[in-house]
Amino acid sequence: MNDFVSGFWPIWISTITLGGIAFCVGLLIFASRVKVTLDSDNTNGHEWDGIKEMNNPLPMWWVGLFIITVIFGLAYLFLFPGLGEYQGKFGWTAVKQYEAEKAKNNEKIAPLYAKYAAMQVEDVAKIPEARDIGKRIFLNNCAACHGSDAKGSRGFPNLTDNDWLYGGSPERIKETITEGRIGMMPPMAAAVGNEEDVKNVANYVLSLSGSIHDSGRANAGKDKFVVCAACHGAEGKGNQMIGAPNLTDNTWLHGQGEAAIIKRIHEGKTNQMPAWEEKFSPEQIHLLTAYVWGLSNK
């Protein structure tokens, strides 16, 4: 009833509902007192355009059903919400029913989760049934970004390799799922220098992973990499504490090649993984952690 802010509407609805029932009952009683006169050919004298109305009285059992319906309707309106703001004797609401059903379901599945919650993530990941539960949670919630096969795509990390932005230990994975992550690289072009310097640094970064690069430019860019090393480390191996990616492997979350790297140096990047603690119980996150951990630890 939240949409009906005016006190008029509950009265309007109650009046129509109860008035309708009262009208029907009144009509039923009124009609029982009316007498019709009948001709010998079973017509009652009403005639329109030559069509005569035959006498066809309502069967008594129908009248009985009518009365039963009225009683049912009144009882229903007394027990359930139907009259304006009246909540009904039972106090039923759709939300309460939903919550009761949810509680019942949680109670039913609690022993299942409790069994796994007591185990180490590494052990849970070995149990096929547990992995199946984790997989279903993953497909319904995580696959939208990370893909059904968890291999991600540009901007969404691959979870099946052993390359982790924030660490691949069960504890770190659980933390990532529970609290989410915000990875932020600031635009660095100004700190690196001019356009040539940026291009040189990009070639140096490419050289770290042995990708195709211009070795002259790479050498020239090596000195300028110092500003990057604050996060990515002197050797470019990244820092899992702050989510700085390893630049020495061949995993390129935001694109491969010189142009993509130059773009990142110019524009920076903020990337976010949402927190899931609101949606899932700790037991569910435990199972999901085991599934994700198991993807790269077989």
């Binding site: 007498k35 019709v36 006169t37 010998s40 004298g45 009403h46 009285p57 069967p59 696959a143 893909g147």
Partner: protein
């Protein structure tokens, strides 16, 4: 008041006796006299056919399970060798269309055949009336019993009848529930009073409905509740066979002695014995012409033929005939020729088409189900070795009762390679009966093979044992760099 003025005007034109009535009326009980004859025999044949089916089928076994079982919890519907799932709802639509068209066709040909011979309301009423007659006696005896004061005889007969009716109703309820709960578990459970709450409810509900409708409501159901009774007239035409009283031959009606002869004293063939009225289960007089209450059961034909025989007159004063046949005094051949009229032919053609379509489509229905859901967030990506990759979530469901293996082929673009996640092709092997799986596949295409954009591809899943293939459409996206 305006009613009264009209009434006065009316009275002045047709001065007739008037009776004052209420708008409501307790319906008079119909004491239908029992009848025997050709049409009655056919009704009993249909009673046996339909009821042997209804009461018998839940007891049949097929491959170690109930032959016909509608498992609502498991959402599987077993019909002998066939198994239907909720997604096969189309076959239910087929069945309903076929049923409706059959109804139209039979009604166009011979009126309310369904009502008179096979409708459960008619069939159960027939059975309940048979029990009533065995216990309370014939029409006259029943009327006398109802009028008599309560005495030992009346109490005994009435309780016996109630016992028989209730027992029969309950057994009907048990049988009905037996289509949804395995019969061979349900009956022992009921015997030990261990049946579930819903099962018990439906046994009593369906049992009560049978008892009430067949024992008490009877013709009231046809007259006031049944929608089909009201719209059937749309399927009637002048060439529809209906139960008809031959007015030309019968009128003027009048009783006479057997010796007097068929047309003595200017009378017609109707001897006004009223037996056609007494046998009518809806309590009408067929001599008033075709009426909406007439369920086309033919009881009056059997009764009148019997009387005509006894009088030594020709049968068929009441008979199945058509309006045009009566008006034009057609013989049987001329009436039968009208069977090949457009209405009948069109109904038959549509009916045959639907039936053939239904049978063929059920015959070719595969034993498994495949849905292809393309990953939407990951449009396309490059693998580390430079291939374009799209990801698909295949929902594979084995709908058969045995373990099955499958093979997957993808067509639509040259050089498409299938890569199962975890490299595990076992994901589409050894699916247990009714097992559902989410199989994740990555489809790979070498870079530079085709233009950027969306390409139509086809997933072809083959059931190795049954040699059936299901094809599902999807698209493969090639990114523009």
């Amino acid at each position: 008041m305006s009613n009264n003025t009209k009434r006065v005007m009316h009275e002045t034109t047709i001065p007739e006796r008037e009776v004052v009535l209420s708008l409501y009326k307790s319906e008079d009980k119909v004491y239908a006299r029992s009848v025997s004859g050709f049409y009655n025999q056919w009704r009993w044949v249909m009673v046996w056919v339909t009821q042997l089916f209804f009461y018998g089928v839940p007891w049949l076994e097929w491959d170690g399970r109930q032959a016909m079982l509608f498992d609502l919890d498991g959402m599987r519907f077993y019909v002998f060798g066939l198994i239907f799932h909720p997604q096969d709802l189309i076959y239910l639509s087929f069945l309903l269309i076929v049923s409706a068209l059959s109804l139209f066709l039979f009604t166009a040909i011979a009126g309310r055949l369904w009502c008179g011979y096979t409708c459960p309301q008619t069939v159960y009423t027939e059975i309940y009336m048979w029990m009533e007659e065995k216990i309370e006696g014939d029409r006259i005896a029943r009327m006398r019993l109802d009028d008599s004061k309560w005495n030992l005889n009346k109490v005994t007969r009435k309780s016996l009848k109630q016992f028989a009716w209730i027992a029969f109703g309950l057994w009907t309820g048990v049988t009905f529930v037996g289509y949804f709960v395995p019969m061979r578990e349900l009956v022992p459970n009921i015997m030990q009073l261990q049946a579930g709450g819903w099962e018990t409810f439906w046994v009593f509900f369906y049992g009560f409905a049978t008892y009430g409708n067949a024992g008490y409501m009877r013709e009231q159901v046809c007259k006031y509740m049944c929608p089909y009774a009201r719209f059937q007239s749309a399927m009637f035409d002048g060439d529809t066979m209906t139960v008809t009283y031959d007015e030309n031959r019968g009128e003027p009606r009048g009783s006479r002695s057997k010796k007097a002869g068929e047309n003595a004293n200017g009378l017609g063939s109707c001897i006004d014995c009223n037996i056609c009225v007494q046998v009518c289960p809806t309590g009408i007089d067929i001599r008033n012409g075709l009426q909406y209450e007439c369920i086309g059961c033919g009881a009056c034909i059997d009764a009148c033929d019997d009387v005509m025989d006894k009088m030594g007159y020709a049968k068929g004063l009441i008979k199945y005939t058509t309006q045009n046949g009566m008006d034009n005094r057609w013989n049987r051949q001329q009436m039968l020729a009208r069977l090949f009229r457009p209405r009948v032919l069109i109904y038959s053609a549509i009916l045959m088409t639907m039936m053939i379509g239904m049978v063929v489509s059920i015959y070719y229905k595969p034993d498994f189900r495949l849905d292809v859901l393309r990953d939407r967030a990951v449009m396309a990506r490059y693998t580390n070795d430079g291939k374009i990759e799209n990801v698909y979530n295949l929902k594979l469901e084995n709908e058969s009762e045995v373990e099955r293996d499958y093979d997957l082929k993808v067509t639509g673009l040259p050089n498409l390679a299938i890569h199962f996640s975890d490299n595990n092709i076992q994901q589409i092997k050894a699916l247990k009966p009714f097992e559902k799986r989410n199989v994740i596949v990555e489809i790979q295409l070498p870079d530079g093979e085709t233009r950027a954009g969306s390409h139509k591809i086809l997933f072809e899943m083959t059931d190795i044992q049954a040699k059936e293939t299901v094809k599902e459409k999807s698209v493969f996206i090639v990114p523009s760099n």
